[in-house]
Symmetry: C2
Subunit: 452 residues, 2 copies
């Protein structure tokens, strides 16, 4: 079944491309009619922006609206450009509050203002309330459509509230329990409600609530929700009063977004923010060129370091042969440490305050790796060239590995402490730093040992 799903996506994309080339809009409409909006999403992600705009117009109105809700916000934003104002307002009004916030983050500021102004009064108030939370906070990602109960209520009273909200609440399976001032005092699940007698007081049934503050970082709150395997988590204000709920599907979406960002930054690119095949080549270039330039400028440092030692190289050309090997190994060691610590930070396993522990561990790890590689490097270079060259290579590897692991391990922590994405300071940046300092170490050791 999953196989046939994949094939049908590919087939559909191929069919659409053909009918598109033939400009056969009737056949195109017929080909799309039997496909569910769910299945149209992967098809849409593989089409060009122009194809998407045309095909979207061919869908029946309700199906188009359903598909719109399922798309990634950047693709939603693309579509809006081709539509009329009234349609745009309608689509925006039909979204959930939290989905609206994702989309608002994507569109230009002028359009955002216009979209907000087009909302019905009641909806605008709610959406504006979410916009009041800081960028990147969980307050912007929470749902306002929830069911709550009171500790003084019974199971029957609570079930009545649940039944009244079955149609519109985002979640009814996790129900926060409030006191008279709306403070969250506990949590009760629909499952527990169903197992209990009708007259059981909620205060007897509820358990301790795990929650997050609306000001908390969205990734932190989402990770907490996922780690605790909660279907939904209450979001509270500074006084612990309920302001919204974070549902697990929104938590997953936040984490996926953050993980794509981490993966991209770790590889030295800006996140694409949309599926790869629907990203124009120009956008791919833009996502990479800044970092590539920054790194290339950083790398001119290595040219300068080397030109300082140009006479040394001219005297002993063989030293130049090992440059890529040495700085490559340093870069790799640094990347390894940075990757490990960045991931540990993302998972919450390590905090900024663990600096000393991380530094100690990475110095030891780097030292052991350096000892191992250094011994190996010494042996091979001593045999292939001379014992002195071997000593230079071995000692350099020992120093560079230790330095690289320490720098690579600490950089993400420093980044987090100064509120920069740890992944930004990660691999390529560390390589560049380790390259330059590794070269200095290399030539200083070489000069000392070879007596240059």
């Amino acid at each position: 079944m999953t196989i046939s799903d994949i094939q049908s996506t590919d087939d559909l994309v191929a069919t659409i491309a053909q009918l598109f080339a033939a400009r056969d809009l009737t056949a195109l409409t017929n080909a799309l009619t039997p496909v569910s909006p769910d299945d149209l999403v992967p098809v849409f992600e593989r089409l060009s922006r122009k194809q998407r705009a045309v095909i979207y117009r061919l869908l029946a109105k309700d199906r188009a609206a359903e598909l719109f809700e399922l798309l990634d916000p950047p693709l939603q934003s693309d579509l809006l450009h081709g539509l009329q104002d009234a349609e745009v307002s309608q689509l925006f009004a039909d979204l959930d509050h939290d989905d609206r916030l994702w989309l608002l983050d994507e569109v230009p500021a002028a359009l955002a203002t216009r979209l907000l102004r087009g909302l019905p009064e009641h909806e605008r108030v709610l959406t504006s309330a979410l916009l009041g939370y800081p960028q990147g906070s969980i307050g912007r990602r929470m749902s306002l459509e929830y069911v709550s109960t009171r500790e003084s209520f019974t199971v029957a009273e609570t079930m009545e509230r649940v039944r009244a909200r079955l149609a519109d609440a985002e979640t009814v399976y996790t129900i926060p329990v409030l006191d008279d001032s709306r403070h969250v005092v506990g949590i009760v699940s629909l499952r527990e409600l169903l197992s209990a007698a009708d007259d059981t007081p909620i205060s007897q049934l509820m358990s301790a609530a795990r929650m997050a503050s609306a000001q908390d970082d969205a990734e932190f709150a989402a990770r907490r929700c996922a780690d605790l395997a909660l279907l939904a988590m209450p979001i509270v204000d500074r006084e612990h009063r309920l302001v919204g709920m974070l549902t697990i599907d929104d938590a997953i979406r936040i984490l996926e977004h953050e993980e794509s960002e981490d993966a991209a930054r770790q590889g030295g690119t800006e996140p694409l923010r949309r599926p790869y095949l629907s990203t124009p080549v120009g956008a791919l270039v833009r996502s990479r060129v800044i970092w590539l330039l920054v790194l290339a400028v950083g790398a001119t440092l290595t040219v300068q370091v080397l030109s300082v030692f140009e006479t040394t190289i001219a005297e002993v050309t063989v030293l130049a042969l090992f440059v890529p090997l040495l700085i490559g190994t340093g870069g790799n060691t640094g990347n390894q440490a940075a990757t490990t610590v960045t991931r540990a930070l993302a998972l919450g396993d390590v905090k900024s305050r663990d600096f000393a522990r991380v530094l100690t561990r990475e110095l030891r790890t780097g030292g052991m790796l350096g000892l191992l590689l250094g011994t190996l490097g010494f042996t091979i270079a001593a045999i292939a060239y001379s014992p002195q060259i071997g000593l230079v290579i071995g000692l350099t590897l020992l120093c560079v590995c230790t330095l690289a692991a320490a720098v690579g391990g600490c950089m993400p922590l420093i980044a987090r402490a100064v509120k920069v994405d740890p992944a930004v300071f990660s691999n390529p940046f560390i390589s560049t730093f380790v390259d330059a300092s590794g070269l200095i170490i290399y030539f200083l050791i070489a000069r000392a040992i070879l007596g240059l």
Copy 2:
């Protein structure tokens, strides 16, 4: 509240370390008593293996069992070593089937066999059934404790079944609908059941089921469950008969595991499989040394390439100065492409069969980046050294960037096609390949232009 959570974890770890040093087990027990098992998990992850073993023994039996269930399988496995056979059997028997499978993947084969043998007959049959699915398949990760209904049943009949399983089913919110031969024909949510009249036939209420096959790759099925925002997804056999349910919390756990693996491999290390601070330094070294050695051996290729061109370097020493810059830029460009495509593969945005599209896009992207950097490199090197050197640098950057992006983008697809983890072939591996080929290109261009 979240802040105080973090502080209490840190404080607790500090207190435990102190009391541990003072060997004051009574005070240690008192310090642990008010802490919930949930909160003990992060504390446990920051302790040494020995501390964990001692502290675990200090907990009351039921609290210890509760904590055990919450720990990562590698930490569970650590704990088992210090315990007696009877305790071990009991802990293992108390786990859910799917948690047992995670733990079995961690422990040595001999212990796994012993653990299975120690299970009560009924439990052993179920756990063995899961073990029958291939390693890495979703069949091993699904839950067997679910509620199902029949299309011929009414809402009232289904609610009765749900009520009967409230205590033990892993999920009751998503209920698969079966025909007389246990084929999944639809899905109904508890929410829909509650909204409907008692005598509504399920066949009227149910909607199309999104499912996965038990043989499917676990990551694929988990991604599907998360992408579709399902709280639980039916898992079926080849004939579409229900065999289990994948719940969203298990899907998250699978994805987190896979993402940690991808992040690690992208940085050239083996995944740690346990929280960073609870990983011994020796294990950190082991997770890195293999890749470091592989890459260092690969890098000896650059030494050989350079020694071929040693006379060229001796003649024009200035060429040596640009080596780190050129191979660094090539490596970065390759990493960028590899990172982007690896992530797109993980998200299912790109498949192996998209090879031609990816290659075209990366050739264009790499070419444009190369043109940009090449022009810049030409200008700077022409001014700083000579127009000829500028031409060498510029042309090399153009060629290397195009090659690196193409290789970096295609490698993950090739890896996936031959069933290797795409992240393995990712960044450091590509750097090494691009380093060697980039150097050859560099010196060939230099020889041609400088007439050496």
